[in-house]
Symmetry: C2
Subunit: 238 residues, 2 copies
DNA sequence: ACAAAACAAGAGCACTGCTCTCGAATGTTG
DNA sequence: CAACATTCGAGAGCAGTGCTCTTGTTTTGT
Protein backbone atom coordinates (compact mmCIF):
# COMPACT_ATOMS: atom_id res chain seq x y z
CA UNK A 1 0.00 0.00 0.00
CA UNK A 2 2.60 2.54 -1.06
CA UNK A 3 0.66 5.72 -1.73
CA UNK A 4 2.13 9.15 -2.22
CA UNK A 5 1.05 11.69 0.37
CA UNK A 6 -1.95 13.46 -0.91
CA UNK A 7 -2.37 17.21 -0.55
CA UNK A 8 -4.88 16.65 2.18
CA UNK A 9 -2.49 14.52 4.20
CA UNK A 10 0.24 17.11 3.91
CA UNK A 11 -2.16 19.86 4.92
CA UNK A 12 -3.33 17.80 7.86
CA UNK A 13 0.18 17.34 9.17
CA UNK A 14 1.04 20.98 8.75
CA UNK A 15 -2.10 22.20 10.45
CA UNK A 16 -1.64 19.71 13.25
CA UNK A 17 1.87 20.94 14.03
CA UNK A 18 0.63 24.50 13.61
CA UNK A 19 -1.98 23.85 16.27
CA UNK A 20 0.54 22.21 18.56
CA UNK A 21 2.95 25.12 18.19
CA UNK A 22 0.24 27.63 18.96
CA UNK A 23 -0.81 25.54 21.94
CA UNK A 24 2.73 25.48 23.28
CA UNK A 25 2.92 29.25 22.99
CA UNK A 26 -0.38 29.55 24.83
CA UNK A 27 0.85 27.12 27.45
CA UNK A 28 4.02 29.12 27.95
CA UNK A 29 2.15 32.38 28.39
CA UNK A 30 -1.05 31.36 30.16
CA UNK A 31 -0.23 28.12 31.95
CA UNK A 32 -1.89 24.73 31.72
CA UNK A 33 -4.99 25.64 33.68
CA UNK A 34 -5.77 28.58 31.42
CA UNK A 35 -5.02 26.84 28.16
CA UNK A 36 -8.05 27.54 25.99
CA UNK A 37 -8.73 25.50 22.91
CA UNK A 38 -10.71 28.38 21.46
CA UNK A 39 -7.80 30.76 21.97
CA UNK A 40 -5.51 28.30 20.20
CA UNK A 41 -8.03 28.10 17.40
CA UNK A 42 -8.06 31.88 17.06
CA UNK A 43 -4.27 31.93 16.99
CA UNK A 44 -4.17 29.62 14.02
CA UNK A 45 -7.03 31.44 12.31
CA UNK A 46 -9.62 28.74 12.66
CA UNK A 47 -12.95 28.44 14.35
CA UNK A 48 -12.97 26.30 17.47
CA UNK A 49 -15.02 23.47 16.02
CA UNK A 50 -12.53 23.05 13.19
CA UNK A 51 -9.75 22.34 15.66
CA UNK A 52 -11.67 19.31 16.85
CA UNK A 53 -10.92 17.73 13.47
CA UNK A 54 -7.30 17.57 14.62
CA UNK A 55 -7.48 17.35 18.40
CA UNK A 56 -10.01 15.08 20.10
CA UNK A 57 -10.33 17.22 23.20
CA UNK A 58 -8.60 19.76 25.39
CA UNK A 59 -7.25 16.99 27.60
CA UNK A 60 -5.73 15.23 24.63
CA UNK A 61 -4.11 18.48 23.58
CA UNK A 62 -2.65 18.86 27.06
CA UNK A 63 -1.43 15.30 26.93
CA UNK A 64 0.32 15.96 23.63
CA UNK A 65 1.98 19.03 25.12
CA UNK A 66 2.91 16.94 28.14
CA UNK A 67 4.74 14.42 26.00
CA UNK A 68 6.49 17.16 24.07
CA UNK A 69 7.60 18.90 27.24
CA UNK A 70 8.82 15.67 28.83
CA UNK A 71 10.82 15.04 25.72
CA UNK A 72 12.30 18.51 25.69
CA UNK A 73 13.30 18.28 29.34
CA UNK A 74 14.77 14.84 28.83
CA UNK A 75 16.75 16.04 25.83
CA UNK A 76 18.08 19.02 27.78
CA UNK A 77 19.18 16.79 30.65
CA UNK A 78 20.85 14.27 28.38
CA UNK A 79 22.59 16.98 26.40
CA UNK A 80 24.00 18.46 29.59
CA UNK A 81 25.32 15.08 30.66
CA UNK A 82 26.75 14.36 27.23
CA UNK A 83 28.45 17.74 27.33
CA UNK A 84 30.83 16.60 30.04
CA UNK A 85 33.85 15.43 28.10
CA UNK A 86 35.48 13.42 30.88
CA UNK A 87 32.94 10.61 31.22
CA UNK A 88 34.60 9.36 34.37
CA UNK A 89 33.98 12.67 36.13
CA UNK A 90 30.64 11.43 37.35
CA UNK A 91 30.28 14.20 39.88
CA UNK A 92 30.49 16.80 37.12
CA UNK A 93 27.97 14.83 35.09
CA UNK A 94 25.58 14.69 38.02
CA UNK A 95 25.91 18.40 38.65
CA UNK A 96 25.52 19.35 35.00
CA UNK A 97 22.43 17.20 34.57
CA UNK A 98 20.72 18.51 37.67
CA UNK A 99 21.54 22.07 36.70
CA UNK A 100 20.09 21.49 33.25
CA UNK A 101 16.86 20.23 34.78
CA UNK A 102 16.57 23.33 36.91
CA UNK A 103 17.52 25.63 34.04
CA UNK A 104 14.86 24.20 31.79
CA UNK A 105 12.31 24.37 34.59
CA UNK A 106 13.05 27.99 35.41
CA UNK A 107 12.92 28.84 31.73
CA UNK A 108 9.65 26.99 31.21
CA UNK A 109 7.73 27.31 34.47
CA UNK A 110 4.34 26.62 32.93
CA UNK A 111 5.59 23.58 31.07
CA UNK A 112 7.12 22.42 34.34
CA UNK A 113 3.78 22.90 36.06
CA UNK A 114 2.15 20.74 33.43
CA UNK A 115 4.69 18.00 34.02
CA UNK A 116 5.11 18.07 37.77
CA UNK A 117 2.31 20.19 39.15
CA UNK A 118 -0.98 18.96 40.45
CA UNK A 119 -2.49 17.07 37.52
CA UNK A 120 -5.12 19.03 35.62
CA UNK A 121 -6.08 15.99 33.61
CA UNK A 122 -7.78 12.92 34.97
CA UNK A 123 -5.67 10.02 35.96
CA UNK A 124 -6.49 8.00 32.85
CA UNK A 125 -4.56 9.72 30.11
CA UNK A 126 -1.20 10.61 31.63
CA UNK A 127 -0.45 7.00 32.43
CA UNK A 128 0.57 6.18 28.89
CA UNK A 129 3.09 8.98 29.09
CA UNK A 130 5.43 7.17 31.46
CA UNK A 131 7.88 6.54 28.63
CA UNK A 132 9.07 10.10 27.95
CA UNK A 133 8.61 10.93 31.62
CA UNK A 134 11.35 8.56 32.71
CA UNK A 135 14.11 9.96 30.52
CA UNK A 136 15.57 12.24 33.19
CA UNK A 137 15.50 9.79 36.06
CA UNK A 138 16.89 7.04 33.85
CA UNK A 139 19.84 9.21 32.93
CA UNK A 140 20.42 10.15 36.54
CA UNK A 141 20.40 6.51 37.53
CA UNK A 142 22.92 5.85 34.78
CA UNK A 143 25.25 8.45 36.20
CA UNK A 144 24.89 7.17 39.74
CA UNK A 145 25.43 3.54 38.86
CA UNK A 146 28.43 4.55 36.79
CA UNK A 147 29.87 6.20 39.84
CA UNK A 148 29.46 3.01 41.82
CA UNK A 149 31.13 0.97 39.12
CA UNK A 150 34.12 3.24 38.68
CA UNK A 151 36.67 2.61 41.41
CA UNK A 152 37.10 5.53 43.77
CA UNK A 153 34.16 7.52 42.41
CA UNK A 154 31.81 6.44 45.18
CA UNK A 155 31.90 4.67 48.49
CA UNK A 156 29.49 1.75 48.85
CA UNK A 157 26.32 2.88 50.55
CA UNK A 158 25.81 1.37 54.00
CA UNK A 159 22.30 0.31 54.87
CA UNK A 160 20.55 3.40 56.15
CA UNK A 161 18.78 3.70 59.47
CA UNK A 162 15.16 2.73 59.90
CA UNK A 163 13.15 0.46 57.65
CA UNK A 164 14.96 -0.88 54.62
CA UNK A 165 14.03 0.25 51.14
CA UNK A 166 14.04 -3.38 50.06
CA UNK A 167 10.31 -4.15 50.39
CA UNK A 168 9.06 -0.92 48.81
CA UNK A 169 11.29 -0.20 45.82
CA UNK A 170 11.19 -3.60 44.18
CA UNK A 171 9.18 -2.28 41.25
CA UNK A 172 11.74 0.41 40.58
CA UNK A 173 14.52 -2.17 40.66
CA UNK A 174 12.67 -4.30 38.16
CA UNK A 175 11.97 -1.31 35.94
CA UNK A 176 15.65 -0.42 35.99
CA UNK A 177 16.55 -4.00 35.08
CA UNK A 178 14.30 -3.62 32.04
CA UNK A 179 15.36 -0.22 30.80
CA UNK A 180 19.04 -0.13 31.68
CA UNK A 181 19.83 -3.77 31.06
CA UNK A 182 22.29 -3.93 33.91
CA UNK A 183 23.98 -7.21 34.62
CA UNK A 184 23.41 -7.02 38.35
CA UNK A 185 20.54 -5.35 40.18
CA UNK A 186 21.04 -1.96 41.79
CA UNK A 187 20.94 -2.51 45.55
CA UNK A 188 17.72 -1.34 47.24
CA UNK A 189 19.48 1.22 49.39
CA UNK A 190 20.87 2.91 46.29
CA UNK A 191 17.54 2.74 44.48
CA UNK A 192 15.82 4.33 47.45
CA UNK A 193 18.48 6.99 47.80
CA UNK A 194 18.17 7.78 44.11
CA UNK A 195 14.41 8.18 44.38
CA UNK A 196 14.99 10.39 47.39
CA UNK A 197 17.47 12.53 45.51
CA UNK A 198 15.14 12.92 42.56
CA UNK A 199 12.31 13.85 44.94
CA UNK A 200 14.56 16.45 46.51
CA UNK A 201 15.50 17.93 43.14
CA UNK A 202 11.83 18.09 42.21
CA UNK A 203 10.90 19.52 45.59
CA UNK A 204 13.59 22.17 45.45
CA UNK A 205 12.66 23.32 41.97
CA UNK A 206 8.95 23.27 42.74
CA UNK A 207 9.43 25.24 45.95
CA UNK A 208 11.42 27.81 44.01
CA UNK A 209 8.92 28.10 41.19
CA UNK A 210 5.77 28.03 43.31
CA UNK A 211 7.16 30.64 45.68
CA UNK A 212 7.48 28.48 48.78
CA UNK A 213 11.03 29.66 49.41
CA UNK A 214 10.24 33.36 49.32
CA UNK A 215 11.66 34.83 52.48
CA UNK A 216 13.91 31.84 53.07
CA UNK A 217 16.28 31.50 50.13
CA UNK A 218 17.81 34.50 48.43
CA UNK A 219 20.07 33.09 45.72
CA UNK A 220 18.25 30.14 44.21
CA UNK A 221 21.04 29.19 41.89
CA UNK A 222 23.75 28.72 44.48
CA UNK A 223 21.22 27.23 46.86
CA UNK A 224 20.39 24.63 44.23
CA UNK A 225 24.07 23.92 43.72
CA UNK A 226 24.46 23.41 47.45
CA UNK A 227 21.56 20.99 47.47
CA UNK A 228 22.82 19.06 44.46
CA UNK A 229 26.31 18.63 45.86
CA UNK A 230 24.93 17.32 49.15
CA UNK A 231 22.65 14.95 47.32
CA UNK A 232 25.65 13.59 45.51
CA UNK A 233 27.35 13.00 48.81
CA UNK A 234 24.25 11.28 50.22
CA UNK A 235 24.28 9.00 47.18
CA UNK A 236 27.76 7.82 48.10
CA UNK A 237 29.57 10.02 45.64
CA UNK A 238 32.89 11.53 46.51
CA UNK B 1 -19.10 51.16 71.06
CA UNK B 2 -20.57 48.11 72.78
CA UNK B 3 -23.38 46.99 70.54
CA UNK B 4 -25.14 43.67 70.74
CA UNK B 5 -24.84 41.55 67.63
CA UNK B 6 -27.76 42.28 65.45
CA UNK B 7 -29.66 39.54 63.69
CA UNK B 8 -28.10 40.53 60.42
CA UNK B 9 -24.60 40.20 61.79
CA UNK B 10 -25.35 36.77 63.17
CA UNK B 11 -26.88 35.71 59.89
CA UNK B 12 -23.89 37.03 58.01
CA UNK B 13 -21.47 35.02 60.09
CA UNK B 14 -23.54 31.88 59.81
CA UNK B 15 -23.96 32.16 56.08
CA UNK B 16 -20.27 32.92 55.64
CA UNK B 17 -19.22 29.78 57.47
CA UNK B 18 -21.93 27.87 55.65
CA UNK B 19 -20.41 28.98 52.35
CA UNK B 20 -16.91 28.10 53.49
CA UNK B 21 -18.03 24.66 54.62
CA UNK B 22 -19.74 23.98 51.32
CA UNK B 23 -16.66 25.22 49.51
CA UNK B 24 -14.43 22.88 51.46
CA UNK B 25 -16.69 19.97 50.58
CA UNK B 26 -16.55 20.99 46.93
CA UNK B 27 -12.79 21.35 47.15
CA UNK B 28 -12.47 17.89 48.66
CA UNK B 29 -14.57 16.29 45.96
CA UNK B 30 -13.73 18.28 42.84
CA UNK B 31 -10.29 19.74 43.47
CA UNK B 32 -9.14 23.35 43.42
CA UNK B 33 -9.19 23.75 39.65
CA UNK B 34 -12.80 22.63 39.41
CA UNK B 35 -14.08 24.59 42.37
CA UNK B 36 -17.11 26.42 41.07
CA UNK B 37 -18.55 29.34 42.93
CA UNK B 38 -21.90 28.67 41.32
CA UNK B 39 -21.87 25.10 42.51
CA UNK B 40 -21.10 26.26 46.03
CA UNK B 41 -23.96 28.71 45.76
CA UNK B 42 -26.32 25.93 44.72
CA UNK B 43 -25.14 23.81 47.64
CA UNK B 44 -26.08 26.49 50.14
CA UNK B 45 -29.35 27.22 48.32
CA UNK B 46 -28.44 30.62 47.03
CA UNK B 47 -28.09 32.18 43.63
CA UNK B 48 -24.54 32.83 42.55
CA UNK B 49 -24.72 36.59 42.68
CA UNK B 50 -25.82 36.44 46.31
CA UNK B 51 -22.62 34.66 47.26
CA UNK B 52 -20.67 37.67 46.09
CA UNK B 53 -22.07 39.54 49.08
CA UNK B 54 -19.93 37.27 51.24
CA UNK B 55 -17.01 36.34 49.02
CA UNK B 56 -15.30 38.95 46.85
CA UNK B 57 -14.24 36.50 44.16
CA UNK B 58 -13.42 32.90 43.44
CA UNK B 59 -9.75 33.57 44.09
CA UNK B 60 -10.51 35.02 47.49
CA UNK B 61 -12.58 31.96 48.29
CA UNK B 62 -9.67 29.75 47.32
CA UNK B 63 -7.37 31.85 49.45
CA UNK B 64 -9.67 31.43 52.43
CA UNK B 65 -9.69 27.68 51.88
CA UNK B 66 -5.91 27.81 51.56
CA UNK B 67 -5.53 29.42 54.95
CA UNK B 68 -7.95 26.95 56.51
CA UNK B 69 -6.13 23.98 55.02
CA UNK B 70 -2.72 25.28 56.08
CA UNK B 71 -4.06 25.66 59.56
CA UNK B 72 -5.52 22.18 59.60
CA UNK B 73 -2.28 20.64 58.37
CA UNK B 74 -0.26 22.63 60.88
CA UNK B 75 -2.55 21.56 63.70
CA UNK B 76 -2.28 17.92 62.67
CA UNK B 77 1.50 18.11 62.60
CA UNK B 78 1.74 19.85 65.94
CA UNK B 79 -0.70 17.42 67.53
CA UNK B 80 1.39 14.49 66.34
CA UNK B 81 4.52 16.03 67.80
CA UNK B 82 2.79 16.87 71.05
CA UNK B 83 1.55 13.29 71.23
CA UNK B 84 5.05 12.00 71.86
CA UNK B 85 5.24 11.84 75.64
CA UNK B 86 9.01 11.60 75.93
CA UNK B 87 9.98 15.07 74.71
CA UNK B 88 13.64 14.10 74.59
CA UNK B 89 12.93 11.35 72.07
CA UNK B 90 13.43 13.76 69.23
CA UNK B 91 13.69 11.04 66.63
CA UNK B 92 10.22 9.78 67.54
CA UNK B 93 8.92 13.34 67.41
CA UNK B 94 10.43 13.84 63.96
CA UNK B 95 8.96 10.60 62.68
CA UNK B 96 5.53 11.24 64.14
CA UNK B 97 5.35 14.75 62.72
CA UNK B 98 6.42 13.71 59.24
CA UNK B 99 3.98 10.82 59.30
CA UNK B 100 1.20 13.17 60.31
CA UNK B 101 1.98 15.45 57.40
CA UNK B 102 1.77 12.54 54.99
CA UNK B 103 -1.37 11.16 56.60
CA UNK B 104 -3.18 14.45 56.31
CA UNK B 105 -2.00 14.84 52.72
CA UNK B 106 -3.13 11.38 51.69
CA UNK B 107 -6.44 11.98 53.39
CA UNK B 108 -6.91 15.38 51.79
CA UNK B 109 -5.26 15.16 48.38
CA UNK B 110 -7.16 18.06 46.88
CA UNK B 111 -6.47 20.29 49.83
CA UNK B 112 -2.84 19.29 49.52
CA UNK B 113 -2.92 20.23 45.85
CA UNK B 114 -4.27 23.64 46.79
CA UNK B 115 -1.44 24.14 49.27
CA UNK B 116 1.50 22.67 47.44
CA UNK B 117 0.44 22.15 43.84
CA UNK B 118 1.03 24.51 41.00
CA UNK B 119 -0.66 27.73 42.09
CA UNK B 120 -4.07 28.26 40.54
CA UNK B 121 -4.25 31.77 41.89
CA UNK B 122 -2.09 34.64 40.79
CA UNK B 123 1.00 35.41 42.76
CA UNK B 124 -0.55 38.37 44.53
CA UNK B 125 -2.92 36.83 47.02
CA UNK B 126 -1.13 33.82 48.44
CA UNK B 127 1.77 35.88 49.68
CA UNK B 128 -0.11 37.15 52.71
CA UNK B 129 -0.70 33.54 53.66
CA UNK B 130 2.89 32.86 54.69
CA UNK B 131 1.90 32.89 58.35
CA UNK B 132 -0.20 29.73 58.51
CA UNK B 133 1.98 28.17 55.82
CA UNK B 134 5.03 28.13 58.06
CA UNK B 135 3.51 26.21 60.95
CA UNK B 136 4.75 22.80 59.85
CA UNK B 137 8.27 23.83 58.95
CA UNK B 138 8.58 25.86 62.12
CA UNK B 139 7.67 22.85 64.20
CA UNK B 140 10.09 20.66 62.29
CA UNK B 141 12.86 23.17 62.89
CA UNK B 142 11.98 23.15 66.57
CA UNK B 143 12.41 19.40 66.73
CA UNK B 144 15.68 19.46 64.84
CA UNK B 145 17.21 22.24 66.90
CA UNK B 146 16.07 20.46 70.05
CA UNK B 147 17.96 17.41 68.87
CA UNK B 148 21.09 19.47 68.46
CA UNK B 149 20.72 20.97 71.92
CA UNK B 150 20.16 17.69 73.72
CA UNK B 151 23.44 15.90 74.28
CA UNK B 152 23.75 12.66 72.38
CA UNK B 153 20.64 13.20 70.27
CA UNK B 154 22.56 14.45 67.26
CA UNK B 155 26.10 14.72 66.03
CA UNK B 156 27.17 18.18 64.89
CA UNK B 157 26.76 18.55 61.16
CA UNK B 158 30.05 18.92 59.31
CA UNK B 159 30.14 21.41 56.49
CA UNK B 160 28.81 19.60 53.46
CA UNK B 161 30.58 19.28 50.14
CA UNK B 162 30.25 21.90 47.43
CA UNK B 163 29.11 25.48 47.90
CA UNK B 164 28.14 26.47 51.42
CA UNK B 165 24.55 27.22 52.33
CA UNK B 166 25.75 30.35 54.09
CA UNK B 167 25.17 32.90 51.30
CA UNK B 168 21.75 31.61 50.21
CA UNK B 169 19.84 30.77 53.38
CA UNK B 170 20.44 33.96 55.31
CA UNK B 171 16.80 34.99 55.02
CA UNK B 172 15.66 31.70 56.50
CA UNK B 173 18.07 32.11 59.38
CA UNK B 174 16.74 35.59 60.05
CA UNK B 175 13.16 34.36 59.84
CA UNK B 176 13.92 31.62 62.34
CA UNK B 177 15.50 34.16 64.65
CA UNK B 178 12.24 36.08 64.55
CA UNK B 179 9.75 33.27 64.97
CA UNK B 180 11.60 30.89 67.25
CA UNK B 181 13.43 33.43 69.36
CA UNK B 182 16.49 31.27 69.67
CA UNK B 183 19.42 32.62 71.61
CA UNK B 184 21.97 31.64 69.00
CA UNK B 185 21.48 31.39 65.25
CA UNK B 186 20.99 28.00 63.64
CA UNK B 187 24.14 27.29 61.63
CA UNK B 188 23.71 27.61 57.84
CA UNK B 189 24.51 23.98 57.16
CA UNK B 190 21.68 22.91 59.44
CA UNK B 191 19.30 25.45 57.96
CA UNK B 192 20.09 24.25 54.48
CA UNK B 193 19.77 20.61 55.46
CA UNK B 194 16.41 21.35 57.06
CA UNK B 195 15.13 23.03 53.93
CA UNK B 196 16.39 20.06 51.96
CA UNK B 197 14.61 17.63 54.23
CA UNK B 198 11.38 19.56 53.99
CA UNK B 199 11.71 19.66 50.22
CA UNK B 200 12.22 15.91 50.21
CA UNK B 201 9.16 15.31 52.36
CA UNK B 202 7.13 17.52 50.05
CA UNK B 203 8.60 15.86 46.98
CA UNK B 204 7.92 12.38 48.26
CA UNK B 205 4.33 13.11 49.16
CA UNK B 206 3.70 14.96 45.90
CA UNK B 207 5.20 12.17 43.84
CA UNK B 208 2.98 9.69 45.63
CA UNK B 209 -0.18 11.75 45.24
CA UNK B 210 0.42 12.89 41.67
CA UNK B 211 1.23 9.34 40.56
CA UNK B 212 4.90 9.85 39.73
CA UNK B 213 5.92 6.78 41.70
CA UNK B 214 3.52 4.40 39.98
CA UNK B 215 5.61 1.47 38.81
CA UNK B 216 8.46 2.35 41.15
CA UNK B 217 7.20 2.24 44.72
CA UNK B 218 4.76 -0.39 45.91
CA UNK B 219 4.24 0.30 49.60
CA UNK B 220 4.12 4.05 50.00
CA UNK B 221 3.81 3.98 53.76
CA UNK B 222 6.96 2.02 54.50
CA UNK B 223 8.75 3.81 51.68
CA UNK B 224 7.91 7.10 53.35
CA UNK B 225 9.14 5.77 56.68
CA UNK B 226 12.40 4.77 55.03
CA UNK B 227 12.77 8.23 53.57
CA UNK B 228 11.98 9.97 56.83
CA UNK B 229 14.47 7.93 58.84
CA UNK B 230 17.24 8.65 56.34
CA UNK B 231 16.37 12.33 56.39
CA UNK B 232 16.76 12.28 60.14
CA UNK B 233 20.17 10.73 59.74
CA UNK B 234 21.15 13.35 57.14
CA UNK B 235 20.12 16.04 59.59
CA UNK B 236 22.66 14.71 62.07
CA UNK B 237 20.15 12.80 64.17
CA UNK B 238 21.08 9.52 65.73
C1' DA C 1 -42.09 56.46 60.90
C1' DC C 2 -38.49 57.16 57.58
C1' DA C 3 -34.24 57.18 55.16
C1' DA C 4 -30.12 54.31 54.65
C1' DA C 5 -27.88 50.32 54.28
C1' DA C 6 -27.68 45.37 53.30
C1' DC C 7 -29.48 41.71 50.94
C1' DA C 8 -31.35 37.98 47.55
C1' DA C 9 -32.81 37.23 43.06
C1' DG C 10 -32.66 37.68 38.25
C1' DA C 11 -30.93 39.12 33.83
C1' DG C 12 -27.06 39.66 31.20
C1' DC C 13 -22.12 39.66 29.29
C1' DA C 14 -18.09 37.34 27.87
C1' DC C 15 -15.89 33.26 28.06
C1' DT C 16 -15.16 28.11 28.10
C1' DG C 17 -15.50 22.85 26.12
C1' DC C 18 -17.94 20.39 23.06
C1' DT C 19 -21.66 18.68 19.57
C1' DC C 20 -24.31 19.00 15.52
C1' DT C 21 -25.52 20.46 10.94
C1' DC C 22 -24.55 22.15 6.44
C1' DG C 23 -22.24 23.41 2.28
C1' DA C 24 -17.66 23.14 0.00
C1' DA C 25 -13.39 21.10 -1.05
C1' DT C 26 -10.91 16.95 -1.86
C1' DG C 27 -10.58 12.13 -2.28
C1' DT C 28 -11.49 7.54 -4.60
C1' DT C 29 -13.90 4.62 -7.82
C1' DG C 30 -16.73 3.23 -11.93
C1' DC D 1 -14.56 12.16 -16.98
C1' DA D 2 -18.47 11.59 -13.89
C1' DA D 3 -20.40 9.90 -9.62
C1' DC D 4 -19.97 8.85 -5.13
C1' DA D 5 -17.63 9.11 -0.55
C1' DT D 6 -14.81 11.24 2.75
C1' DT D 7 -12.94 15.11 4.90
C1' DC D 8 -13.01 19.63 6.17
C1' DG D 9 -14.27 24.60 7.82
C1' DA D 10 -17.70 27.45 9.45
C1' DG D 11 -21.65 28.47 12.09
C1' DA D 12 -25.20 27.78 15.44
C1' DG D 13 -26.20 26.03 19.71
C1' DC D 14 -26.01 23.91 24.56
C1' DA D 15 -24.49 23.85 29.21
C1' DG D 16 -21.41 25.58 32.15
C1' DT D 17 -18.24 29.27 34.27
C1' DG D 18 -16.88 34.15 36.78
C1' DC D 19 -18.64 38.38 37.46
C1' DT D 20 -21.59 42.85 37.13
C1' DC D 21 -25.73 45.44 37.28
C1' DT D 22 -30.45 46.38 38.30
C1' DT D 23 -34.67 45.69 41.01
C1' DG D 24 -37.40 44.91 44.68
C1' DT D 25 -37.39 43.46 49.54
C1' DT D 26 -35.84 43.23 54.25
C1' DT D 27 -33.38 44.88 58.11
C1' DT D 28 -31.01 48.68 60.55
C1' DG D 29 -30.09 53.09 62.83
C1' DT D 30 -32.14 57.57 63.48
Amino acid sequence: MEHTRTARERAREEITTEILEAARRRLASDGPANLSLRAVARDVGMVSSAVYRYVPSRDDLLTALLVEAYDELGAAAEAADDGVSDRTDVRARWTATCRAVRSWSVGHPHDYALLYGSPVIGYAAPRDTVGPATRVIVRLVGIISSAHEIGGAARPLPEGPGPSFEPSVGDATAALREVAGLDTDVPPELVGRTLMAWSTVFGTISFELWGHLVGSVSDHETYFDSVVSRLWHDLGGV
